[in-house]
C-alpha cells in the first residue's frame, strides 16, 4: 500500500506541482493518475521512489516512511517504467532486464535465466535477449522496460506514460498485457497517463487531477463515468462517457430473442411464420451465417430452404456473459438488421437483441448502479 499524507511539492522556482495531496493506493491494485499536462502526475509518481523529494507531507510505502529510508535501497524495491523506456543502449536486452537482480548480488547466469523468463512473461521471444535495445521496435522496447521493472519482483511498480509512445494497436495490446500480468502478479501499481480511455481500461482506481496538483475525484472508473463529482470531471472524462460507461455493464442476464433464429434447412414458410422483419440463418448447429430481410423471403418460393437465399452479413457478434453492453450495442449498430447477434463461448447463436432491449438493459443497470451508490 502507498499512502500520500498531505504531500506538497514546491520546486525551486516556486512552482507548486503537487498541493497537499492525500491519496491511498491499495496493495495489489492498479491506481491510475490522470489529468491535464502539467497537473503534477509525474511529480507525484517520482516522489514515491524519491527521484523528487517532497517539500511537505509524508509518503508511506507499505507502512514505512519513504523519506526515512535509504533512497538506493528503497528504489531497488520499486519497479519504474517510463515512456522513453530508459533502457541502457550499451547492454543487451537480457542484461538490461537483469540489471536490478545483478545490483542485488545475483549471479550473472541466474540473472540472465530469470531475464529470459521475464521476457516470455511480457510476451517477447527470449531469443531477443541477445539483441541491443536499438534493434527492437518501440513496442518491444516498452515490454522490455516492463520486464526490467519486474525483474527483482518488487511489490510496487511505478509507470509514467508507459504506453504513450506506441501506435494505438500496440498500445491496446500492451494495456491488455498489463491487465493480464496484474491478475497474475498483483503488484501495487501506480500508472500515470493523460489518456482517460487508458485510465478507465487499466485502472482499478482512478485519481483525476485538476491543474496545479490537487485531486478532482478518486474512485473506480465506473464512478468517474457514472457519478462525476463536478463539471470538471464530467468534461474531462469526455462527451461519450455514457457510451464508455456501458463497458462496465455485463450481458449475462439479457432477455435474448430466439424467435427469428432459424437453421439453414428451415423453409421460407417457417421464416415468414415468425412474423419477424429479419431472420437470422444459422448453420452447423447454431453458427450464425447471415440475416435475411422479409422482402427477400416474400420474393422466394415458400418451400425454399433458407440456406439457399442470399443473406446479409452478421460478422459483428458479441459473446453473451463475457462481453459488455458496449460490445452488444456496437454489434447492433453494425448489424444490417439493427439487432445484435449474441453467441455463446463456442460461437453458437444464443439469440438476438434489438435496440429496445438494449435500452431497457441499460436503464436497469444504471438504476442498479445508482442504488448501489446509495447503499
Amino acid at each position: 500500500m502507498i499512502t500520500f499524507e498531505r504531500v506538497t511539492k514546491r520546486y525551486a522556482d516556486g512552482t507548486v506541482a503537487v498541493d497537499a495531496l492525500d491519496l491511498e493506493v491499495p496493495a495489489g491494485k492498479t491506481m491510475v493518475l490522470v489529468g491535464p499536462s502539467g497537473c503534477g502526475k509525474t511529480t507525484s509518481l517520482r516522489m514515491i521512489n524519491r527521484l523528487v523529494e517532497p517539500t511537505e507531507g509524508r509518503i508511506l510505502v507499505d507502512g514505512r516512511d519513504a523519506l526515512r529510508q535509504d533512497p538506493v535501497k528503497l528504489r531497488r524495491g520499486i519497479g519504474y517504467v517510463i515512456q522513453q523506456t530508459g533502457l541502457f543502449p550499451h547492454r543487451t536486452i537480457e542484461d538490461n532486464v537483469a540489471t536490478v537482480p545483478l545490483l542485488l548480488g545475483a549471479r550473472r547466469a541466474a540473472a540472465r535465466g530469470r531475464a529470459r523468463e521475464l521476457l516470455e512473461l511480457v510476451g517477447l521471444d527470449p531469443a531477443l535477449g541477445r539483441r541491443y535495445p536499438r534493434q527492437l521496435s518501440g513496442g518491444q522496447q516498452q515490454r522490455v522496460g516492463v520486464a526490467r521493472a519486474l525483474a527483482a519482483d518488487p511489490p510496487v511498480l511505478l509507470m509514467d506514460e508507459p504506453f504513450s509512445a506506441v501506435d494505438p494497436v500496440v498500445r491496446a495490446s500492451l494495456q491488455d498485457e498489463l491487465i493480464r500480468l496484474q491478475t497474475e502478479l498483483r503488484k501495487t501499481v501506480v500508472l500515470v497517463t493523460h489518456d482517460v480511455e487508458e485510465a478507465i481500461k487499466v485502472g482499478d482506481q482512478v485519481a483525476l487531477y485538476r491543474p496545479h496538483g490537487t485531486l478532482a475525484q478518486v474512485g473506480e472508473p465506473e464512478d468517474l463515468l457514472g457519478a462525476p463529482a463536478d463539471d470538471y470531471v464530467r468534461d474531462f472524462v469526455g462527451f461519450d462517457r455514457g457510451i464508455r460507461r456501458l463497458s462496465f455493464f455485463g450481458t449475462g442476464d439479457l432477455d435474448l430473442d430466439t424467435s427469428p433464429v432459424l437453421a439453414g434447412d428451415a423453409t421460407v414458410a417457417d421464416a415468414v411464420s415468425t412474423g419477424a422483419p429479419w431472420v437470422l440463418v444459422t448453420a452447423d448447429g447454431g453458427r450464425p451465417t447471415g440475416w435475411v430481410p422479409r422482402h427477400r423471403l416474400d420474393a422466394a418460393g415458400s418451400a425454399t430452404a433458407l440456406r439457399d437465399l442470399a443473406a446479409d452479413h452478421c460478422e459483428h457478434t458479441f459473446t453473451a456473459g463475457t462481453d459488455s453492453l458496449r460490445a452488444a450495442l456496437d454489434a447492433a449498430v453494425l448489424s444490417p438488421a439493427g439487432q445484435a447477434v449474441a453467441v455463446d463461448g463456442a460461437g453458437k447463436t444464443a439469440g438476438v437483441l434489438g435496440y429496445e432491449q438494449i435500452r431497457a438493459a441499460i436503464a436497469a443497470r444504471a438504476a442498479d448502479g445508482a442504488r448501489g451508490k446509495d447503499r
Binding site: R75, Q84, F88, H90, R91, V100
Partner: protein, 209 residues
C-alpha cells in the same frame, strides 16, 4: 626523388618513426587520464565547466614553439618538455569531448539507473562512461593525430622524431628526405587513427555499424 636513400637510412628512419609515434601517443594517453576526472567534474558541476574551458582554450592558443620554449627552464631540451606540451594540447581537445559524451548520455537512461538504485559512482562507471566512450574516443583520435603532426616542431628544440627529416632535408636541399618524413607522418597518423577506431568498435559492440 632519390629512392636509394630510403633503404640505406632505414635504421634511422625506423627510429625516428618510433620516436614520433611515442610523442604522438603518450601525451594523448596522459591527456586522457587527466581529462577524464576534469570532464567528469565539469559535466557534474555546471559552474565548473566555463572557467575550465576558458583555461584550456588559452593553453590551446599558445603557439607550440612558444610553449616548448616556456618549458625549457623547467625541463630543458628534453623529450619530457615535448611530452608535457603535447599533453596540455591533448587535454584541450579531449576534455570537451568527455563533457560532451557525458552530457549526451540519454537522460532517460540516467534517470532509469537512478530509479533502479544505482548510486552516483556506480552509475558513472557502469552507465555514463561506457555510453560516452564513442565521443571520448573521437576526441582521443584528434589528439593523437594532431600530436603526431605537432611533434615535428619539437625538432626546433632538438627533440628528434620524423620532423628531423624536414629540417635536415631543407638544410641539405635534399627533397627526398622531406617527402619521406611527410609520408611517414601521415601514414603514422592514419595507422594510429585506425587503431583507435578498432578500439572503439571493441568497446562499443552496441553501436550501429
Amino acid at each position: 626523388m632519390d629512392w636509394s636513400w630510403i633503404p640505406s637510412n632505414s635504421g634511422q628512419i625506423l627510429q625516428l618513426t618510433g620516436e614520433n609515434a611515442y610523442l604522438g601517443i603518450v601525451p594523448a594517453l596522459i591527456g586522457l587520464v587527466i581529462a577524464l576526472p576534469l570532464g567528469i567534474a565539469a559535466a557534474r558541476w555546471n559552474w565548473f565547466y566555463p572557467p575550465t574551458l576558458t583555461v584550456l582554450n588559452i593553453i590551446y592558443a599558445i603557439p607550440s614553439l612558444a610553449l616548448f620554449i616556456a618549458l625549457i627552464p623547467a625541463f630543458g631540451l628534453t623529450d619530457t618538455n615535448v611530452v608535457i606540451a603535447l599533453t596540455l594540447y591533448s587535454l584541450c581537445v579531449i576534455t570537451p569531448n568527455v563533457v560532451a559524451g557525458l552530457r549526451a548520455v540519454p537522460a532517460a537512461a540516467r534517470q532509469a539507473a537512478t530509479a533502479m538504485g544505482y548510486g552516483p559512482a556506480r552509475r558513472l562507471l557502469t552507465v555514463e562512461l561506457p555510453l560516452a566512450v564513442p565521443v571520448i574516443i573521437a576526441g582521443l583520435r584528434v589528439a593523437v593525430v594532431s600530436g603526431i603532426s605537432l611533434a615535428s616542431i619539437g625538432q626546433l628544440i632538438g627533440v628528434s622524431q620524423l620532423g628531423y627529416l624536414f629540417i635536415d632535408g631543407l638544410q641539405r636541399s635534399f627533397p627526398t628526405e622531406v617527402y619521406v618524413g611527410l609520408v611517414l607522418i601521415i601514414a603514422l597518423a592514419i595507422v594510429c587513427d585506425l587503431l583507435l577506431v578498432g578500439v572503439r568498435r571493441i568497446l562499443t559492440p552496441w553501436e550501429a555499424r
